[in-house]
């Protein structure tokens, strides 16, 4: 098979990955909506640990669980057991998707004989893979329930869908990118961005859950998106998870910026030139630094923390799409 064949195969696996993620999303959605366990999430503190092993053994004593008082009307004909099965299908589909997803990148690398993150399309594909891997680790360590994969899958499918809008054919690198720093700087940026994406998802869930509490305490009527909140984990657990993902991502992002500065010194003669991409990377760094500090400023800061995390992801997105497509930058490698 020639390099062209590899590139075509890479495109096929890319489509397969999106389809499998969509399947996973539907599986998780069914589990989220109809499993009895999910409906108890608000009350249960321990269930998350049990769910870890579900993928392997399916040893969840689903039928032993007592019927909660506020069990949602389940008149769709989907039993809790079927919902759990759908969740397992979702997990299998997600892992299969991740394997195919990784193959997309590997085949691209094979087709062009370079690191598979030389343009905007490849960058997005790679960061989505990081997000899925991080999410899998989070679920495997029992930090959140499997069914919450619904929201991660939603984010990944949306972002991969956006990636198709900036699809770029597999081509060799332009001379400016032809350096070993692409392995270091861009990979660090991809890992950090993938972690930030995961953190963004949990930050949004945290906000939904928190506002749900506020609305129910006030006795107000629930409206979307707070209607999904009863099945989300504890507010504090979502807050801690968001925090830990960002704590992990921030040093990697810092490293990515530093590595970028070293590379910029090699390629463009200066380590920092206020190029729009650099500016927005700096803005993202500052916003996430503010997020990390927000927890140290008492209750007031904690209130804003998830909003700052969401703002940070907005900055990252602008740096990815806005700067690449609409602003003149030395980092314009979008290839579109």
């Amino acid at each position: 098979m020639g390099t062209n064949g590899l590139a075509e195969l890479s495109n096929a696996t890319f489509v397969a990955a999106i389809v499998l993620y969509a399947v996973a999303m539907f599986g998780y959605a069914i589990e989220y909506a109809f499993s009895r366990r999910a409906s108890m999430a608000a009350e249960s503190e321990v269930e998350h640990r049990e769910l870890v092993t579900v993928g392997a053994g399916g040893d969840l004593p689903a039928d032993d669980a007592p019927e909660p008082d506020d069990a949602p009307a389940n008149n769709s004909g989907i039993t809790p057991a079927q919902a759990l099965a759908a969740g397992k299908v979702g997990l299998v589909a997600m892992i299969a998707a991740a394997v195919v997803h990784a193959a997309t990148l590997a085949l691209r690398a094979g087709a062009v004989g370079r690191w598979p993150w030389g343009n905007m399309f490849e960058f997005i594909v790679a960061l989505c893979l990081v997000c899925v891997v991080v999410w899998t680790v989070v679920v495997a360590r029992g930090l959140v329930a499997r069914r919450l994969g619904l929201f991660t899958m939603l984010a990944v499918v949306l972002l991969l869908g956006c990636a198709t809008r900036v699809y770029t054919q597999a081509t060799p690198l332009v001379p400016a990118l032809n350096s070993y720093w692409i392995a270091i700087h861009v990979l660090a940026a991809i890992i950090a961005t993938g972690l930030f994406l995961t953190g963004f998802v949990t930050a949004v869930l945290h906000l939904i859950r928190r506002n749900y509490h506020r609305v129910t305490e006030r006795g107000g009527t629930l409206r979307f998106p707070f209607t999904i909140a009863p099945r989300l984990p504890e507010e504090s657990r979502l807050e801690t998870l968001t925090w830990r993902l960002h704590v992990l991502a921030f040093p990697i992002w810092t490293f990515a910026v530093i590595a970028g500065a070293i590379w910029a010194r090699e390629a463009w003669s200066r380590y920092w030139g206020w190029d729009p991409k650099e500016v927005w990377a700096f803005i993202a760094w500052v916003v996430y630094a503010a997020y990390l500090h927000s927890r140290a400023t008492g209750a007031g800061g904690r209130r804003f923390a998830p909003w700052i995390a969401i703002l940070g992801w907005g900055v990252i997105l602008f740096n990815l799409f806005g700067v690449n497509l609409f602003v003149h930058s030395m980092h314009s490698y979008a290839g579109v």
């Binding site: 690198l173 040093p251 810092t254 500065a261 200066r270 920092w272 500016v279 916003v287 500090h293």
Partner: protein, 520 residues
């Protein structure tokens, strides 16, 4: 009634209050967000330090808005007073916050871990220990786990052991923040003592360049750097190698140069590439781009020939370039040597490296010079070159054209292939007599670089423990019975496991009464 001291005290109290306000975490947080917001306009508006041309373009496009933007330093955001105000306030806030924390941290490092609380069962982590444990052995276990340990004998015959761990968190935190200050200082140092220049280096011996300020097309000199401080070196471009995909995407740029240091002639060869700068002592040479310099010969009405090598600026990926060639000394009467101000000649136009067979001819089919052609417009009159006004060498002075001092002269042939002549309406002739390549070089020295890098490394080294290390304390009380208590001083999910592990290890230490072993 009122003394003079009262207003003064109130002034100092106001100042103190302001200072406390400024150095509070909340203010630092707001300043951080201001810094983020303040950085935005610089990425959306054209910046002078990046591209002065784009700023001029903005002035042309928005004639009424541009002066207002300029007055707000919108084209120099990152050197503007208001941007400096934000980060200087932030750093002042940082210093005000850090110095007391540094003092506290040093005090904490030198202090013994505090004594056990009297009711240890109230601690978040608590468990019973077997009685009869030996304080020294317990302390050893804690020390082996890298705790700082203090053993205290109590008057009621009990012994308490206090242990504390995770000081690296605050050390890292302080290192991180102080390194940020160091980074700013290093950047300022580099700006004061550094310099840089841009230069187009045309291939060939006559294109040779030796380092001095006048030789640069554009330069920036730090306030504390003198023009005579520039290191003496010379550069020459032998040839430029470039390669492209059929789509026009470049895959290779190599400028084969020769250099000589300390005033020596340029003889040492070096393949200058993007990502592979030439490092000389006191300066580094970077390849930024390349282009073509057509050689244009003009034969004036007296039959005198003049030749100029005119670098053209590439407009797009295919190396279609625009530029100008000016002959201010054309049509000087060889007998009287009198210059005729109205007979200076200038050409302006485009260079197309691979001209297609069909129109539009301006659409080059390749960035390589497969079928090079020049499309020129001739001008005659006062080129304005002697006026002393600085102006781009890539175009003729439009002011001279609009004032009528420079007039278009028709040419027989608008498009010249290599080695072709064209006759102007006044009978003089112009020839596309050759083609040279050129490399765009940036030469830069930033003595702050190393310190910036060192600060950045320290920032990262400080950041990791600041985020990942957790502070925690454990206490052991050994009396009639034993008990162990623990407190995580920062959020720490895994503390329960560590506490249990420590408890097991302590419980497993040998007791004073051997017969009690195994009773638990």
């Amino acid at each position: 009634m009122s003394t003079t001291a009262t207003p003064r005290r109130s002034v100092t109290s106001i100042l103190r209050r302001w200072w406390r306000q400024l150095t509070s975490m909340r203010t630092a947080l707001v300043l951080l967000l201001f810094l983020a917001i303040g950085a935005i306009p610089g990425s959306l508006l054209p910046q002078r330090n990046l591209s002065a041309d784009k700023v001029s373009q903005y002035y042309a496009d928005n004639p009424s808005l541009a002066p207002i933007v300029d007055r707000l330093w919108g084209f120099d955001v990152y050197s503007s007073p208001w941007f400096a105000a934000i980060y200087l306030l932030l750093f002042t806030s940082l210093v005000g916050c850090l110095v007391p924390r540094l003092r506290d941290h040093i005090r904490a490092l030198r202090r013994q871990p505090p004594d056990a609380p009297s009711r240890m069962s109230l601690l978040p982590m608590h468990r019973e220990l077997p009685s009869g444990l030996e304080a020294k052995k317990v302390a050893d276990v804690l020390r082996r786990n890298r705790f700082r340990v203090a053993v205290r004998e109590k008057p009621d015959d009990a012994t308490t052991i206090s242990a504390e761990k995770g000081f690296l968190r605050d050390s890292g935190n302080l290192l991180f923040h102080f390194s940020l200050l160091a980074l700013l200082a290093a950047m300022a140092f580099g700006a004061l003592y550094g310099w840089h220049g841009n230069r187009i280096l045309v291939a060939g011996e006559d294109g040779e360049f030796c380092d001095s300020l006048q030789q640069y097309d554009e330069y920036g000199l730090g306030p504390n750097k003198d023009a005579t401080d520039l290191p003496p070196f010379c550069l020459r471009l032998d040839h430029f190698t470039d390669d492209y995909l059929p789509s026009g995407q470049p895959t290779k740029y190599i400028a084969s140069v020769r250099y000589g240091t300390d005033g020596a002639a340029p003889t040492t060869p070096y393949d200058l590439q993007v990502n592979h700068p030439l490092e000389l002592s006191g300066a580094s040479v970077f390849l930024l781009g390349h282009g073509y310099a057509p050689v244009i010969t003009y034969q004036d009405r007296y039959g005198d020939k003049q030749t100029t090598v005119a670098p053209f600026l590439p407009d797009e990926g295919t190396q279609t370039s625009s530029g100008a060639a000016v002959f201010p000394d054309a049509n000087i009467n060889p007998k009287t040597h009198t210059a005729d101000k109205d007979s200076e000649i200038a050409f302006q136009g485009m260079f197309i490296p691979a001209v297609p067979d069909q129109p539009p001819y301006t659409q080059s089919t390749s960035p390589l010079p497969k079928n090079p052609a020049l499309m020129l417009t001739a001008y005659k009159g006062d080129t304005g070159l002697d006026s002393g006004q600085p102006h781009s060498v890539y175009s003729i002075d439009q002011k001279q054209v609009s004032s009528g001092a420079l007039k278009v002269v028709d040419m027989k042939k608008k498009m010249l292939k290599l080695h072709q002549w064209s006759t102007l309406d006044d009978g003089t002739k112009v020839k596309f007599s050759g083609l040279r390549e050129y490399a765009t070089l940036e030469i830069r020295d930033d003595p702050g670089e190393t310190f910036v890098l060192a600060s950045a490394v320290l920032i990262l080294l400080g950041l990791l423990p600041a985020l990942l290390v957790r502070r925690r304390r454990v206490w052991v009380r050994l009396g009639d019975t034993g008990e162990l208590g623990g407190l995580a001083r920062t959020e720490y999910d895994g503390f329960g496991e560590e506490f249990d592990r420590l408890g097991e290890a302590i419980a497993a230490t040998p007791t004073r009464e051997p017969d009690k072993i195994g009773s638990d």
